[in-house]
């Protein structure tokens, strides 16, 4: 019969063990980083610890088991989420994983979803942190209202310059590969990108032929191409915590569209970069296969007193602590707070002026895989690199020239295209990834996927002598008051607690941006020597609707400068509700991005926040009178 077990109290209790939690675990458990203090740190996660040699090295080359069976990922019977497009609709639950992968699974276990991602990284530039005020200042408030009806866009509480040192620590910890920005002088002082005080710790992986072609073409058109920033180690490496890293072996079963785990540990994630350092500290306890379902709060102070979780036998464990770190992925970060009554829950209203609360507010999505305006062409005599080998994010080349406010968005400059702000990271040459199924089914299975004619198109498909270039660019998704997360009234997880409900649809800015950006991409493709470069039919705002849970969710549990609309303050410390902040819980993750700037990887943007939060937690633990940090 299940019982309730109270565990010894800890100084720091970490909820979920992904990328951000790994940083907190290392930074708080290693005494030498804390002025000699031996803080006791406990981290709890719902899945196992994956040993890449034992668990991945012989069984990962399995497209059926990995891609559809999702044998290393979060099981849907345990918990799912529901999706609708407007607050007037009934939300349908996600019932299955499908191929091509439309529903990148939640991670399951130490390292989280970073066990199966593609390793794409890239800093968010200065504009991303001030995009509300910068847009108003340059184009005026009416312009923003036009591009983003019911706008809920806000600036970050800190500037890029304030986050820069944290970016450096993050990049060192995870051994990121890249080379500044690829401009003529290629120095951090360049006016190009990405505004770095020092280079990435590792060099980029070798460029693919398509990547080289893109680089040459982009330079000819006056852009500033540079190697795609990747978290797949290009060389052996040892990080600042003394954790050794194996390099990538380029065998092609990687992340991106196919979601394979890495069998050498070259793909950065907490399990093989930061958690090993915490383990060595002697101050760290890792609790696996345990599902957190509530945070207990003190009835008088409102502060968190303990985390409650189920072990695999169904026993309830109570883990008391002084300070808590919410490092769960995406909507689970929000869900545990809503279930526990922590912070002010977001309450939607059809009038933007009447919405209240912050937990669940400002949801955006960093991804529009298709159903958007696109451009494609064929690059002759440039193939062969596609299937036998490769890695998930190395080898390609990007430009930042067409994102943020790096070009003029005024109506006259857009020459008749619909208005938008932001833009897209544009690049080419990455290994497309996959097993044969993922490639055959790319774009979906339809009535055209049957019969001898279709079969002919698949012959030697994985030995291409030419490369199909395709791009579905989009300006980033902006927060509105109509996109949010709350608790679903009808569906529950395996333990009987409500699922997260995502009320979300793509915003006009994404579609409007595509109309303009495809023309620019078309120019680059043409310059590369591609043939038959054509722009697909233009998709208008509202013509297609989101029907997936958006594994690149951003916002929804925002860090901000306004206490009534954000959950976390500038130290990533909870300052909600305004009347009585639950200030002993900190949080960081993609979902804490305030602005929905999807241009570089959201994980990279979240990374510096974890170092910021670690600093905040250290300060908090040193306070004589606990309270909000200033």
């Amino acid at each position: 019969m299940p019982t309730t077990i109270t565990e010894p109290a800890a100084d720091v209790v970490i909820l979920g063990v992904g990328y951000m939690s790994g940083v907190i675990a290392a930074e708080l458990s290693i005494a030498s980083l804390n002025g000699g203090k031996n803080y006791k740190v406990v981290a709890i996660t719902k899945g196992p610890y994956w040993d890449y040699v034992n668990d991945f090295s012989t069984t990962k080359y399995d497209e059926w088991g990995v891609g559809l069976g999702r044998k290393y990922d979060s099981p849907l019977p345990l918990q799912s989420a529901t999706i609708r497009n407007t607050p007037y609709q009934f939300a349908l639950p996600v019932r299955r994983y499908t191929m091509p992968i439309q529903y990148h699974a939640l991670g399951h276990g130490v390292g989280g979803a970073a066990q199966h991602y593609g390793g794409t990284m890239g800093r968010q530039g200065p504009w991303g942190y001030t995009q509300y005020s910068s847009t108003i200042a340059r184009y005026g408030a009416p312009f923003l209202d036009t591009v983003n009806p019911h706008s809920d866009l806000e600036d970050w509480p800190l500037t890029y310059a304030q986050y820069e040192p944290y970016y450096v620590e993050w990049e060192k910890a995870h051994g990121l590969c890249g080379d500044y920005n690829g401009s003529a002088t290629n120095q951090p002082s360049d006016t190009g990108y990405p505004w770095m005080s020092q280079n990435y710790p590792l060099p980029p992986s070798p460029l693919t032929p398509v990547g080289q072609s893109f680089q040459t073409a982009a330079q000819a058109l006056g852009y500033h191409p540079f190697p795609h920033v990747s978290a797949l180690a290009s060389q052996p490496y040892i990080n600042q915590y003394g954790v050794p890293v194996n390099p990538c072996v380029y065998d092609g079963y990687c992340g991106g569209p196919c979601d394979y785990a890495c069998e050498t540990g070259a793909k950065a994630n907490a399990a093989y970069r930061t958690i090993p350092a915490a383990m060595k500290s002697g101050n760290f306890t890792l609790v696996v296969n345990s599902f957190i379902f509530r945070l207990d709060t003190d009835p008088i102070s409102g502060l968190v007193t303990a985390a409650r979780y189920y072990d695999p036998q169904g026993n309830v464990h109570v883990q008391p602590g002084t300070v808590f770190f919410n490092g769960m992925w995406g909507y689970n970060m929000i869900r545990v707070m809503l279930l526990s009554g922590i912070g002010a829950p977001y309450v939607w209203n059809s009038s933007p002026a009447s919405v209240t609360g912050s937990v669940g507010r400002g949801l955006t999505n960093g991804y529009l895989p298709y159903r958007g305006t696109n451009v494609s062409g064929t690059l002759p005599n440039n193939g062969g690199n596609a299937y036998p080998a490769g890695n998930g994010s190395g080898g390609s080349v990007d430009i930042y020239d067409l994102m943020d406010d790096n070009f003029d968005h005024s109506v006259s400059a857009l020459a008749g295209d619909p208005p938008f702000i932001g833009g897209a990271e544009i690049g080419a040459g990455g290994y497309p990834g996959g097993g044969p199924g993922n490639i055959t089914f790319a774009g979906g299975v339809s009535s055209a996927s049957m019969g001898g004619t279709f079969k002919t198109t698949q012959k030697d498909k994985y030995l291409p002598t030419k490369t199909t270039l395709s791009s579905t660019p989009l300006a980033h998704d902006l927060p509105t008051t109509d996109n949010y997360i709350d608790l679903d009234p009808h569906y529950t997880d395996i333990y009987g607690d409500p699922l997260s409900r995502l009320t979300y649809d793509w915003t006009p800015n994404t579609y409007n941006g595509a109309t303009h950006l495809v023309k620019k991409v078309k120019d680059i493709f043409t310059q590369m020597g591609a043939q038959n470069v054509t722009i697909g039919s233009t998709v208008a705002p509202g013509a297609a609707h989101n029907d997936w849970w958006g594994h690149h969710l951003r916002g929804g549990c925002r860090i901000g400068a306004n206490q009534s609309t954000s959950v976390w303050n500038k130290w990533n410390q909870c300052w909600s509700p305004v009347s009585k902040p639950v200030f002993n819980i900190f949080g960081a993750g993609e979902i804490t991005n305030t602005s929905g700037d999807n241009v570089p990887s959201g994980t990279h943007v979240a990374g510096p926040q974890s170092y910021r939060a670690a600093e905040g937690i250290k300060q908090y633990l040193a306070l004589l009178t606990p309270g909000l940090l200033t």
Partner: protein, 327 residues
Amino acid sequence: MADQTRREFLKLGLAAAASAVTASAIEIPLFNNQNSSMQTKLDNANSQLNNANSQLSSANTQISNLKARVNTVVGFVSLSVTEQSLLEKIVETIIPTDTDPGAKEAGAIYFIDRALAGDYGQSANMFMDGPHVLPRIPASTTNTLSVNPTLSWANLPGNSSAPITYTGGSIGTPGVGAGITSSPRVGSGINYQYPLNFREFWRVGLVALQAYANSAYGGNFETLSSANQLLLLQDLWGNKPTSFSNILPSDFAYELTFMTWAGFLMDPIYGGNQNMVGWTFTGFNGVNFGNFYGEGQDQKALMVATAPTRLKPASLAQYQQQASGGT
């Protein structure tokens, strides 16, 4: 299908017999090189030996192919007798055999059979809890949906157990459209909302398909011309059948198409893609990263090559065997 299995064993037996004959022929030539007649005899004998060796080698290839075939799945654990004959023709319509192997040679039907008997058929990794509300309720201004909340939600502070009504519609215009999420794509994770696991879904789907074959094309699917078989499957994709066991025909067409291709392309360990014919056809390398058979190719070099390198595919089981030091 029992017939087919017997045929395979029969062929294997014949091949073994042929091998015995050629083996005894090898033992004939034991000559001294002493004169021209002997030389002629020797030449003849050598030529005989070459023929014999070539026969032996082709017989051995045949044996190893057949052994591989026998060692893979050629029986059924899930599909009923009527489902077997119907599905056999369906998968052969989706990936026909022409000058190259198709679904038949890949054994796609065995892949599907095993999947239906396992996690896929039991929907073991799916979220299957109710309520089950089907998407695509016809849009209308009067179409609302009333659903009772779960008890646990009602018990959370500030909530109640009163039924919740959904009007549908877009922002600013409530009441327009259906009360459920807008038009999920066929094959998307929120599209399948049936209260059936996939084994049951396929059971009712195949029955409905056969009924439609009879009503619209005048006979069982197996008896139709191959052109009509393809047309019928396209009818399902276009939701042409008006009565289809209460499931949307395109939802079943998606599963048929997707699972047949999966049976052609997934690792042989799951019962399809037998002898890796799907990988040989598509040029996929499996887990041969350039040196599995001693080709001496480098993975990093392959990644940056401008021309494709055809690699003989290797399977997951082969990889594991090699990794563990076996042959």
